[in-house]
Amino acid sequence: MLGSSEKIERLIQELSKMPTIGRRTAQRIALYLLKAPREEVTSLVSALVEMKENVGYCAECGAITESDPCAICADPKRERSAICVVEEPGNVMGIEKTGEYRGLYHVLHGRLSPLDGLGPEDLSIDRLTERIKALGVKEVIIATNPTVEGEATCSYLAQVVKPLGVKITTIARGVPMGSDLDLADEMTLARSIQGRGEVK
């Protein structure tokens, strides 16, 4: 207990609910805020409230957005024939930055993970199949992470989506740009060979 302030204690408890923040870090933040100028604290509070009141998830694709549907789903110029499926909202921003993709997205909000107890019902999979049918999607690009659980999620999704009669592709996996083939391990090289593409 820090001194005898119940109010500081309450703040510490609130802060330590957050990911990666343990009790000691929470204490440090609380003491920092105690010392900080009043304006800094008010600005933090208003940033939190404004974020909470104005930002949410797109009801269509699950991306983080300030308007619903999000700017991508609402953009008439985006191709509605392709959906790119990703694990987390952050992945949408990553792919958007490349400027290479003109289709829509779908955020699963996780991956299948027996170790974390995450099954199909914990992911946005039913919504994905609904959208594929409603939009008349022709191609589903699965861009889950290149991890064991990401790959298993990919193969599960392919199994679910296949009966809908759409083309299913995955993003190329394997040797990262700028690396040397000699240094790539067996698993990475195997994926690269499996996911090889035609030279155009």
């Binding site: 199909p120 659980e149 599960y156 391990d185 067996e186």
Partner: protein
């Protein structure tokens, strides 16, 4: 600080800070250890894909005295167990095999038998057909329980030592098979058939590879699976869960795989 070399199997990984991972390994020489692999999330990391779940690698790590978290400096794949990631059902079985070890064994206790068993089950899951997975995981579970010192008594009644007849129970608290007279003494006794008992005895006497070649799954392997996993759950602290086992049971009851 001292440098150590061993072989290890990845039990669990989690992200640490921006680009690193903390990995729980089960190693041949040091048992269960945790190590940080700095920069391992960067695409060009020297660790490549060697830190993926179920991968067996040769490891070099630095160890600080009195610390639980060591620093991984090198790892090279010996066996990636690639077939597991292609199938969510196999992923679930492999996760159950590793998570039980993670929950049952304390940190840094060498157990070479357990290491070999873990290596063997992951190989078997990789090559098995889906309908064989329940049988081989049940067999693994019994072998693992013996390897970590929780092996149940199956040769005779665990309470009175009498030979077992056709009516048999499995006492979760007594730690083994029970005769009709003794089963009332254990509030957590599960009824089991004689055939299930015989199957469990077979699990003890033959290898998982041999089992897979000679046996097929049936209702007795389902019973053995359920009883042995109830027994595993009885060994871990109250309130703790083995999520992959819960996942397997949910998967079995739904049609998703």
């Amino acid at each position: 600080m001292s440098i150590h070399r061993t072989h290890g199997i990845v039990l669990r990984t989690r992200k640490f800070r921006e680009s690193s991972k903390i990995i729980v390994f089960f190693t041949r020489r040091y048992g269960k250890i945790s190590a940080i692999a700095k920069g391992s999330l960067k695409p060009k990391s020297k660790f490549g894909s060697s830190l993926e779940l179920f991968t067996r690698s040769s490891l070099i790590f630095y160890r600080k005295e009195n610390r639980d978290l060591h620093t991984l400096s090198h790892s090279e794949i010996l066996n990636a167990n690639k077939n597991i990631g292609n199938d969510v059902v196999k992923l679930a079985y492999a996760s159950a095999a590793t998570e039980m070890v993670e929950r049952l064994v304390p940190n840094e206790e060498q157990n070479e038998t357990l290491y070999e068993l873990l290596d063997a089950i992951l190989n078997q899951i990789g090559v098995a057909e889906r309908n064989q997975l329940e049988l081989i995981l049940a067999s693994y579970t019994l072998k693992m329980l013996h390897a970590v010192g929780y092996g149940p008594e199956l040769a005779a009644c665990v309470r009175c030592g009498k030979d077992l007849g056709d009516e048999v129970w499995f006492g979760l608290h007594s730690g083994g098979a029970l005769c009709p007279a003794c089963h009332k003494e254990d509030l957590h006794a599960m009824e089991m058939s004689r055939a299930t008992l015989e199957l469990m005895r077979k699990f003890e006497s033959i290898s998982m590879a041999r089992l897979r070649e000679t046996h097929s799954a049936d209702k007795f392997s389902r019973d053995a699976f359920d009883i042995l996993h109830a027994f595993v759950r009885a060994q871990i602290s109250e309130g703790a869960r083995i999520r992959s086992l819960d996942f397997l049971e949910r998967m079995r009851d739904s049609s998703f795989a």
